[in-house]
């Protein structure tokens, strides 16, 4: 017997018929308006650009409709390198390997920081957020400096001068390091919310720690694991920067899409490749939804629990600590290389100490930095709240088109940035939606491209919270909006926080999604870093990245503080003094 085999406690709303759903909706105008609003923004900023991409892909040069390009891509061995079919399988293979590696590492960190009494948990928490907070190609550059043919480690330490770092191996390493924080953020939320008493019960009945992990903790964290695998898989598929820099001969779909669009000016094939990329993503997503729906993961039931000791046995904590330390060392080595590069005259050649690159960043790069911070700060809360709202609506409410909402909210996340960028450019370049050249188009891109992480972490925690808690609130007379604000959001504070941080960070570090959307007024930090990188100014790029990292760390601290203040659970047991006061007032 495992915990997942508990009979699913169907929320009563599930049993209601469609007609009743509509009737329920009409009685709750706030809910109805929210649903309509969410549909409206999803339609404008997700579905419309997607339709544009489809139109571009299926329209021939003469203006007719044709699926010939799709057939060509699927059947031909020519045209691509080595062929689009091989490229497709390359992407799949890479995605699967990276998804497994990154989720395993993310789980390790999440488990260690939430369910044990290991030392240095705050520290490891910081380490696990470090890799997402830099533009990705920087890690790729580090790996070349460390492990390339003239690399500091391969050549400098071992004297190997023909080590091939480009290709599948290098990509797996860099992508796993870049994406494990996504898995970590998703898993931390769920592991934190597993009620200790479930594990305690097993322990007091005599189960060993290993047995408990296998039969209780691991199965209960399955929704998180699956979400993490899915998110990492999708990110690996649509990642452009890493394969472009160190993919070498290993071609992937996202890079091919970029290649045909900007190199051959062929938006038809490029859009088609993006559509092909959508298939595995949507399939993985549907599989996840179908699979999770059948099981119950409720452990937070609102019944009183006690604080108890977490895992502290030496034979468990020490190996965990060692494993975390090894990953940390790897992360530090990569970022240390960047940090080092930022302070030397010419990376790789002249190791004289200098601060001139930072002077460069704060003079010529200042505008772009401020723009990035401003837009990220606007889009993060919009994305964070919208993500929670969509998660709440799709998990807890029943209304027509619910699944459509769930799927469409994932789409912009799943296509390569360059194609999303094209979709936005073509869609929002004429009236009445003339947004090209404004900040709104960038905010919209950031919001809708990053929202799935907020939705996913929201969904997984929601699945572990018993609906009875909300019902208690509704029965006591609160409406849906009040329940959402006062009950749901505070209980999902961590998931909300993860969503906010992730949105902010991705907005600060997006590369290919903004290529066609930045404007003279709204130039962004990452496009500057990429431009510096292209003109071989590695040290300047490194300094830029360091400044970005510091800004993001400060921002995470600010977000944490705001979330804690805003969402501190308001209700608490009245203190003795208050009761006395109330009584005495009553007597008067």
């Amino acid at each position: 017997m495992t915990a997942t085999a508990l009979p699913a406690a169907d929320p009563p709303k599930l049993k209601m018929k469609q007609g009743n759903n509509l009737a329920m909706l009409i009685r709750q105008p706030v809910l109805l308006v929210t649903i309509l609003l969410v549909f409206a923004v999803l339609f404008i900023f997700v579905v419309l650009p997607m339709i544009t991409v489809f139109q571009l892909s299926f329209t021939t040069e003469e203006g007719g409709f044709s699926i010939q390009p799709l057939i060509d891509i699927l059947t031909s061995d020519k045209g691509g390198y080595p062929s689009y079919r091989a490229t497709f399988w390359n992407s799949m293979l890479l995605g699967v390997i990276v998804a497994i590696c990154a989720t395993a590492v993310g789980y390790l960190f999440a488990f260690a920081t939430t369910r044990t009494e290991m030392r240095g948990k705050r520290f490891f928490d910081l380490v696990a957020t470090l890799p997402i907070i830099s533009p990705p190609f920087v890690l790729s550059l580090s790996i070349i400096f460390l492990f390339g043919k003239q690399g500091m480690i391969t050549n400098g330490m071992f004297g190997i001068d023909d080590f091939e770092v480009k290709g599948l191996g290098g990509l797996v390493l860099v992508q796993s390091l870049s994406f494990f924080p996504v898995a970590y953020l998703t898993l931390r939320g769920i592991l934190e919310s597993i009620d200790d008493s479930v594990e305690d019960a097993a322990f007091s009945m005599g189960a060993s720690r290993g047995h408990i992990f296998r039969t209780v903790t691991l199965p209960l964290s399955l929704p998180g694991i699956i979400s993490a695998v899915l998110l990492v898989f999708i990110q690996s598929l649509e990642d452009f920067s890493n394969p472009a820099v160190i993919g070498g001969g290993y071609s992937t779909l996202a890079v091919e899409a970029y290649r045909v669009i900007t190199g051959m000016n062929d938006t038809i094939t490029g859009g088609m490749l993006a559509i092909i990329l959508l298939l595995p993503t949507v399939a993985a997503y549907l599989f996840q939804k179908y699979w999770l729906r059948k099981k119950s993961f409720v452990t937070v039931s609102g019944k009183p629990t006690q604080v108890r000791r977490k895992l502290h046995e030496k034979h468990i904590v020490y190996p965990l600590f060692a494993a975390c330390a090894i990953v940390t060392a790897l992360v530090f080595m990569f970022y240390g290389t960047v940090l080092f590069g930022a302070f030397v005259k010419v990376w790789g050649i002249n190791y004289e100490f200098t601060l001139e690159h930072f002077a460069y960043v704060f003079t010529l790069g200042a505008d772009a930095l401020l723009n990035s911070v401003e837009l990220a700060a606007i889009s993060a809360p919009i994305g964070g709240v919208l993500g929670m709202v969509i998660a709440y609506l799709t998990v807890r409410q029943r209304f027509p088109g619910r699944k459509l909402m769930a799927i469409s909210s994932m789409l912009t996340f799943a296509i390569p940035g360059i194609v999303a960028s094209i979709g936005f450019m073509y869609t929002f370049n004429h009236q009445p939606l003339l947004l090209q050249g404004t900040a709104i188009i960038l905010v919209a891109m950031f919001t809708f491209r990053n929202i799935p992480v907020a939705i996913e972490s929201g969904t997984t925690t929601l699945l572990s919270i018993d609906p009875c808690i909300e019902e208690a609130s509704t029965i006591s007379g609160a409406d849906t909006g009040y329940t959402f604000r006062r009950v749901i959001l505070p209980m999902r504070r961590n998931a909300f926080f993860s969503g906010l941080v992730y949105s902010f960070v991705r907005a600060m570090t997006a590369v290919s999604a903004i290529i066609f959307l930045i404007s003279p007024k709204w130039s962004l930090a990452t496009s500057k870093v990429f431009a510096l990188f292209e003109s071989s100014k590695f040290s300047e790029a490194a300094a830029f990245v360091m400044v970005l990292i510091v800004i993001i760390f400060i921002a995470i601290g600010v977000i944490q503080t705001i979330v804690n203040i805003l969402l501190k659970p308001k209700a608490k047991a009245p203190e003795a003094a208050e009761i006395k006061l109330a009584l005495s007032e009553g007597e008067k």
């Binding site: 080595p82 400096f145 001068d161 091939e164 970029y258 010419v346 790789g348 090209q436």
Partner: protein, 361 residues
């Protein structure tokens, strides 16, 4: 209610950003004509050189340049995507084949600068859409450290030297479909060895042989020079100005030119076909083109340490810079190259860079 209020505030905030984006102020130039105070440009020029050129232009004319920097391919895609509602007045830098393509699609508007009088005819656009701003020859960026260690391999001086088996896996070249630079290389080899006959068997035999020394075709045109600088490759096929700029930073590069003939890239600038642009915008755009082609503008290549070769015969050249008259330059046919691109790249993928030749790495 509070939530709605926050949303409304955010929207209002966003709208104020968009509202203050257009400023249509004008100034009077020396002849008393109205020109826009600010000019919007899409550019494929190296980011680090831009402050020199735009600063010089602003000092000379008082016009401020707002720009978006993209790669040449991205620039064309963007201008094409925005053609119904263009956002910029001018496209600046990037090789002439991009401009030939844009002209053919009706994305450019004609302008022949009076400064063209000082520029040799071979660099001019016969159709009068774009104006040339610099030339650069294809070169070999060689990593000196590598050649010091491998004394049995000579530093390449000709195209055939690149097929030396000693250089196996050590020649850096970008993919002709992604990098304009590399397409110029391919088109040069095709013109030099095959006389523009894209079915010439000997030329393809040469490219296949070269392919054995190229571990993979990188995506970015800037990558081969970087690879050579960092020792990832012994030789990178690239434009001389890109290689010399990296060399000037201290990387151990030696730049050589193929003595059997090399191709060149012609950088260009052009007005976009933009119905939204006012008379004053267009006047400012023309001023920009005139300035960049003038002696003063062309000599900025010295200040920016860009190693680009000016096209204006009046302009001074940086000390030690190899000018094109010192090299054996083929009569590169940019128009032929632009028109043949799709076919030639497809053939390249079919014959050279196909599935059978994938190297396990």
């Amino acid at each position: 209610m509070k939530r709605i209020a926050i949303c409304a505030a955010a929207t209002a905030l966003a709208l104020t950003f968009s509202a203050c984006s257009s400023s249509s102020d004008t100034i009077k130039d020396a002849d008393g004509n109205e020109v826009a105070k600010e000019l919007t440009i899409y550019t494929a020029m190296s980011e680090d050189e831009l402050p020199t050129y735009f600063g010089g232009f602003e000092k000379a004319t008082g016009i401020k340049v707002n720009y978006v920097r993209l790669s040449a391919g991205e620039m064309v895609t963007r201008i094409e995507g925005e053609k119904e509602n263009p956002q910029a007045t001018l496209a600046y830098a990037g090789a002439s084949d991009a401009y030939i393509q844009m002209a053919a699609e009706g994305l450019l508007s004609k302008y022949a600068s009076p400064e063209l009088a000082n520029i040799p005819d071979q660099y001019k656009d016969p159709d009068g859409y774009w104006n040339p701003i610099y030339v650069g020859a294809i070169s070999f960026a060689c990593n000196k450290d590598w050649f010091d260690k491998h004394t049995d391999v000579a530093i390449p001086q000709s195209w055939d030297d690149l097929t030396n088996p000693g250089l196996k896996g050590m020649v850096g070249m970008a993919h002709p479909s992604t990098a304009g630079t590399s397409y110029t290389v391919l088109a040069t080899i095709m013109q030099l060895k095959g006389g523009k006959n894209i079915d010439d068997a000997d030329t393809w035999a040469y490219l296949k042989k070269l392919n054995e020394n190229v571990p993979q075709y990188s995506k970015a045109g800037s990558a081969p020079a970087q690879d050579a600088a960092m020792g990832e490759a012994a030789v990178g096929i690239t434009f001389a100005h890109d290689a010399l700029k990296i060399k000037a930073k201290g990387y151990p590069l030696e730049v050589t030119f193929p003595n059997d003939g090399t191709g060149d890239e012609l950088g260009a600038v052009a007005l976009l076909n933009n119905p939204n642009a006012s008379e004053a915008d267009i006047a400012a755009g023309k001023k920009f083109i005139d300035y960049m082609l003038s002696k003063e503008g062309q000599e900025l290549y010295i200040d920016s340490a860009s190693y680009r070769v000016p096209v204006n015969t009046q302009a001074k050249v940086a000390d030690g810079l190899v000018t094109l008259d010192q090299l054996k330059i083929i009569d590169y046919d940019a128009k032929w190259a632009a028109q043949t691109k799709k076919e030639l790249v497809a053939k390249f993928q079919e014959i050279v860079d196909n599935g059978q030749n994938v190297k396990t790495s």
